[in-house]
Amino acid sequence: MEHGRSRRKTPEPEKCRDPYLRCAFHGAAQTALGVAGSALLAHSPQGCEYLVNNAFAWQACDYMEVITLCTKLCVDEIVHGGEELLERTILEAKDLPISALFVLSACGPEIVGDDIVAVCETLQPELKFRLIPIECAGFRGSQYDGIDIALDAMLKHLVNRSGEKIPNSVCLIAPHANANPTWIADLDWVKGVLAQMGIRVVATLTHRTPLAELEHAASAEASLLLSHDAGQKAADHLSAAHGIEQVCGGIPLPIGMTNTERWLTALGERFDAQKTAESMVVEGERMAMATCRRKWPMARFFYRTPAAIVADATVGIPLVRFVTEDMEMTPDLVALYTSQRSVRDLLERELDDLDLAPTVVYGTDVYRTRQALAETKPKVVFGSTIERHASEGLGVSHVVEVVKMMRQFRMIDREYFGYTGILDLFECVQNEWTMAWRSREKRYEARW
């Protein structure tokens, strides 16, 4: 294998892209929809409502509990301004049984200069619920930028400044910037770990988070970021504005044996729960090994098979070590959706530590991915439905769909984090392995 950084490349800025990530409006909607007992009003043409619906599904919202509204802007509002229509729609919703209404502006109204902040300030006295404007036009960036925009608005509008710190407590940040299609289980796993270590979760930003939790977020002692793609700005804000220190920063999230051990150890050290962390590692590793002994994961047959990882950084970076160490494959390509400095630094450290020199593509799009797959010729691809189709004709034997919820292939949320997460990922490999072996022809016909 050719080693060296020359193989790590960032695409030149392209004018024509086929991107993986949605726009800022989508990310902001995803974040706002994580507040329980709230509603979301998209100040947008009707098409943007589809992005909200998609974000709704990604947050696993229940339509019995969370309501979405849209002002459905047309030419008239673009020409003459849509503030009046926004006012009318907010007032239409004034009897909804909610604690907060998030008002999100899309591209059109922001370009024509609708002032959603002023509209919200004007109407607030007439309403029983909180109005939170979020200026998150799609052109402001990717969905991850949108998450940061929405978190910023929430932290500045909703978090109380006063309040005592709660000992041994954390504020969890942005788990939904995570392409695990059942990311909620990752969040639950983290909460379970924290409970075992005696650490209290003050607020979760955001998933089924009551407004009261958000208001008290500043009373957390520490913040724990569960994404490598978004939420760092929120962690920085909590630190600067409320003196909340970030824990487990700069290490990959707990996917695979080593990452999990490292992450649990760091958490245990910060909260003086080293013994608990140690016993979780020992018991978790024992359970994972014993289960594998009984079930025989087929992943073991892929020894040093060239592999590719095409994912967001949240899942993609921890997978590098998991694929290399635990499954003994060789990552020849790592293509990440994002390219920010923190992502590069973290991946570079991991690659150096593992002495790997794969082709790395930051900020990849579908075209770049296809080109990179054609160049590197992996046999196994860890990615999504897109790579299943994008790798056709390139000699890829297995596409293990582990990221991106294009189709709902699991009813039960299953984590990738921790020790059960290892088994869940093995199961994904197992199913793909089985499907690839299935005979596509019958040699003769049955007689019955």
Partner: protein
């Protein structure tokens, strides 16, 4: 049922009159959002093979289409290869300084990367408001790449659901070249798009293609249901245009008739025997193939005689309460009303929103012209805040409506729980597709049979609770 739950009770013609006069405001409440102009324009353009739809906008708009239409519907379900959903990823700086330069470069890049037969620039809200001249860029770009480059103004705010596909079909006409010959016995099928909305599946298209083939009629292109640019170029060489979904195809058929003089067979959706017969003869007649078509109809009718007899026996004298919801959509529901009447039932259509009437006005008018004018009931729940899926109120109203009739059968989908037989006409169950044509008659007969024979079996408390919450009555 409580009379204050009924907002409108009359027939389809009266409802249309109320919408036209403004008595019923054709605006959906804040939470009901149909597709915008951009989406429906994209749907049509995506139905051409080896096309690059180049979205001049931020990444949100194209990605919905990329995920839902291209990767899931086309690649996963229909065996279509993955092709690009390209965009210029407009950012804040482009919004301030304009994105025309970036667009021109993007077209060149798109051609170099994908070698398509056609590039269609689709503008969306951003590029529309900042005034980027997409048509001019398309003309300029076309001089430097090896394929046609067209531009479509498809800003989401710029029109309704209907305007997107109508404009897209109009644009497609620019690709049609003057005829060099006439393809005898050949037609275009108009009004398709691929990937389709979930209200449209290709089993129905397969059935109409099969029937045409039986009569000896060839299809040049299904526009735009997976057709090639080459087929579109030759579209003017056919003898006749026909639609497979009157709602989507009508405008293109009319325009091709006006501009190119190609006759267009105006028929509704082939649901039931009469509509199927009408559909087939509407095409075969002008081609001089009426006799062969009648032979096919006779043969096919014989094959489904038992099903026709069953449907007549099962539905005669009954009330068919038909609900327009996600699956089937409104035009299909009105086609079902016609079919129910054909088999002796009295159709009552429930909750077709005035917005739907407005956006589909030409099709509704056509349906009325064909003599279909069912009773329509609109309930209060239809106008309240809340999504289609959280329609607990309309469920309760539907249950009350059904109780007001004797001997009633519900035609809709199994997401409803009225106290009567439920004919599950969802298009999401491939076991009973197609619904068009003679094979459709067989499937619909099977669906009616299972509804009537199993009407006393318990319904799922689980699904009901999932849809409408626990402890509903």
């Amino acid at each position: 049922m409580q009379s204050d739950s009924i907002v409108f009770r009359g027939n389809l013609r009266q409802l249309l009159g109320n919408v036209e006069s403004g008595e019923m405001i054709p605006k959906l409440q804040a939470s009901h959002a149909p597709m915008c102009k951009f989406f429906t324009a994209y749907y049509v353009i995506n139905g051409i093979r080896h096309v690059v739809p180049l979205v001049h906008g931020p990444t949100g708009c194209p990605l919905y289409m990329s995920d839902f239409v291209r990767t899931r519907e086309c690649c996963e379900i229909r065996g279509v290869p993955l092709e690009p959903t390209a965009c210029t990823s407009l950012d804040e700086s482009n919004v301030i300084y304009g994105g025309e330069g970036k667009l021109l470069e993007a077209v060149k890049e798109a051609y170099a990367k994908y070698r398509p037969d056609l590039i269609v620039i689709l503008s969306c809200c951003c590029s529309g408001i900042i005034g980027d001249d997409v048509e001019n860029i398309a003309r300029e770009a076309e001089r430097t790449v090896g394929c046609r480059v067209l531009a479509l103004r498809s800003e989401g705010f710029g029109g309704d659901f209907r305007s997107g596909y109508e404009d897209a079909f109009r644009l497609i006409m620019d690709l049609m070249e003057p005829p060099k010959t006439t393809m005898k016995g050949t037609v275009n099928i108009l009004g398709a798009r691929w990937g389709p909305t979930p209200t449209e599946f290709d089993w129905d298209l397969d059935e109409v293609e099969r029937l045409l083939s039986e009569v000896g009629i060839r299809i040049n292109a299904v526009i735009a249901g997976g057709c090639t640019v080459e087929q579109i170029k030759h579209a003017r060489e056919v003898e006749l245009n026909a639609s497979w979904c009157y709602d989507w195809g009508q405008k293109l058929g009319d325009r091709m008739q006006e501009r190119f003089g190609i006759p267009y067979s105006r028929t509704g959706q082939p649901y039931g025997l009469e509509a199927t017969r009408e559909w087939l003869l509407g095409i075969a007649g002008p081609l001089g193939l009426e006799k062969r078509a009648l032979e096919v109809i006779e043969r096919e009718t014989r094959a489904v005689e038992a099903d026709l007899a069953y449907l007549k026996g099962a539905l005669e004298g009954k009330t068919a309460v038909i609900e327009i919801s996600e699956f089937p959509g409104p035009i299909r529901a009105l086609s079902l009303a016609r079919m129910a009447e054909e088999f002796g039932a009295r159709p009552v259509v429930v909750n077709v929103h005035p917005y739907t009437i407005k956006e589909r006005m030409p099709s509704i008018q056509y349906i009325l012209e064909t003599g279909v004018n069912p009773e329509v009931i609109l309930t209060r729940g239809l106008f309240h805040l809340g999504s289609f899926r959280s329609s607990k109120e309309t469920e309760e109203e539907l249950e009350a409506i059904v109780q007001g009739y004797d001997d009633v059968v519900f035609f809709g989908n199994s997401g409803r729980f009225p106290p009567c037989p439920v004919v599950n006409l969802t298009l999401m169950n491939p076991g009973f597709q197609p619904q068009y044509g003679f094979r459709g008659i067989r499937n619909i007969a099977a669906l009616v049979r299972q509804a009537l024979e199993n009407k006393d079996l318990p319904r799922s408390r689980l699904f009901r609770g999932m849809l409408y919450g626990t402890r509903t009555k």
